[in-house]
């Protein structure tokens, strides 16, 4: 990535960081405007916001039916952040923050920590650590390797897809002029949506696997047969 770092005192701020801040400001402003629309009973903004949030909540509830209230804000924020960040690359002169490995790695670490946060909060530390020894203590190394690899895979997958997408778009733009890349830009939108969705769903599945014993226990309590 051909970036020119900004300096804040002795610290050099990457463009991804500045773009993320700008994006956060935009999202905050959009949230404020949308929140004002929620006061109107049948406004389009309110219907759209309720519909999108309900869809995301239903998707989370399908995986963690007994913890969706706590998990939904995290997954929804991942989807919104990633979708917005992925689309930022369409703005001329800007790059998607998710094309930066530092950003995707940070998000992967956040997902890694969130899995343990939700699991420990719901099950307790001992129960959460015990699941690494099940069904057999022999599998403990594999569990640990799995934790590391899936976090790495999250970071690398998103970084690789978005970076390659931007590079492909740049090459097509250089070779074929301005009109031909329009379908490619449409592909960029779709790809941004899909990558955000995949990242969020994977994070949800990881959290769901961490809460599996709790979900099973509550399901058994609700349906004894």
């Amino acid at each position: 990535m051909n970036e020119t770092p900004l300096f804040l005192g002795h610290f050099s701020l990457s463009q991804s960081l500045v773009t993320t801040w700008a994006m956060m400001a935009v999202l905050l402003a959009a949230s404020w405007l949308l929140a004002r629309q929620l006061g109107k009973p049948s406004s389009l903004g309110r219907v759209a916001a309720e519909t999108v949030y309900t869809m995301m909540e239903n998707a989370v509830r399908d995986v963690v039916p007994h913890s969706y209230v706590e998990v939904t804000p995290f997954i929804a924020t991942l989807w919104i952040f990633l979708f917005t960040a992925n689309l930022t690359g369409l703005i001329p002169g800007l790059h998607s923050p998710t094309a930066d490995l530092s950003v995707t790695a940070a998000l992967a670490v956040v997902v890694f920590l969130s899995v343990h946060w939700f699991a420990i909060r719901s099950l307790g530390l001992r129960a959460h650590l015990r699941h690494y020894l099940s069904p057999s203590p022999i599998l403990l190394p594999f569990h640990l390797i799995s934790e590391i690899t899936r976090t790495l895979a999250l970071a690398i997958r998103l970084f690789g897809n978005i970076m390659s997408l931007e590079m492909a778009a740049l090459l097509v733009l250089l070779v074929a002029g301005f009109l031909v890349p329009v379908p490619l830009l449409m592909l960029h939108v779709v790809e941004a949506l899909i990558q955000a969705y995949i990242f969020g769903v994977l994070a949800l599945l990881y959290i769901g696997s961490g809460l599996e014993s709790l979900e099973k226990q509550k399901s058994d309590q609700r349906n004894p047969s």
């Binding site: 905050l28 404020w32 949308l34 929620l38 916001a49 939904t72 530092s102 950003v103 790695a105």
Partner: protein, 249 residues
């Protein structure tokens, strides 16, 4: 392909801050709006269910009222039929009574009319008989009949009962023996003498009779002694007969 530690750490912080901000300023209002909408829907649903229950209760109440009304209607209908039957029987009885009274009245009228006609027939037959008798007696009237009737009078005087005889004697005394003798034709001296003689013997004193002629007597005589009158003639008998037939005196 290198990881900038500052970017890495700040992106984590950024995401957590964004999570907090969205949770505070976006998700919470949306959840509140959804909850409010669900509450509104639940409230509307509960209200609809309440109204449905109320409607069912109302329908049930109206159905019970309808059953009560039908039962009351059937009872009233039964009572009405009974009252109508009573009224019909009473009217029928009254009609029968009126018909019986009318029948009796008509029967009475018919009987009266029949009696009247019978009476009229009797009167007619009586008058006819009287007229025929009068005609026949007018044809039979004559001197012989006068003589016979006089003889019958003299015989009857001899057979008078004691009270009548006493009354006749009193009348003769009161009028000094003067009497009137009416006949249809002139009586003649001999017959007058026979009569005076019979009367004198009967009352025990001399009687003098003054003769008069009254053709309406047809035949026979009428002897008047004071307030006593003795009829022995056809005219007076026919008059008696006619009065008795018509109900007069």
């Amino acid at each position: 392909m290198t990881i900038d530690p500052l970017t890495f750490i700040l992106e984590i912080v950024n995401f957590l801050v964004l999570l907090w901000l969205l949770k505070r300023f976006l998700y919470a209002p949306i959840r509140d709006a959804i909850t409010l909408r669900q509450q509104t829907l639940n409230h509307g649903l509960q209200e609809a269910e309440t109204r449905e229950l109320e409607a069912r209760d109302t329908i049930e109440a109206y159905r019970r009222h309808l059953d009560d009304w039908n039962a009351e209607k059937a009872g009233r209908h039964h009572e009405l039929n009974q009252e109508l039957a009573k009224e019909r029987d009473a009217a029928l009885a009254r009609t029968r009574e009126l018909a019986e009274a009318e029948r009796l009245r008509l029967h009475s009228l018919l009987q009266q009319e029949l009696d009247s006609e019978k009476q009229a027939a009797r009167d007619l037959s009586g008058r006819t008989a009287l007229a025929m008798t009068r005609l026949m007696l007018e044809r039979l009237a004559g001197s012989e009949l006068d003589q016979a009737l006089l003889r019958m009078l003299i015989d009857d005087l001899g057979q008078l009962a004691e009270p009548e005889l006493a009354a006749l004697q009193t009348a003769a005394v009161n009028h000094q023996g003067r009497c009137l003798v009416a006949s249809a034709r002139p009586l003649g001296d001999a017959r007058l003498y026979d009569l005076q003689s019979a009367l004198s013997r009967l009352v025990g004193m001399e009687v003098s009779c003054t003769p008069t002629v009254e053709p309406q007597l047809l035949s026979g005589v009428r002897l008047t002694l004071g307030d006593r009158v003795l009829h022995a003639n056809l005219g007076d008998e026919l008059a008696f007969f006619e009065r008795s037939m018509t109900g007069g005196n």
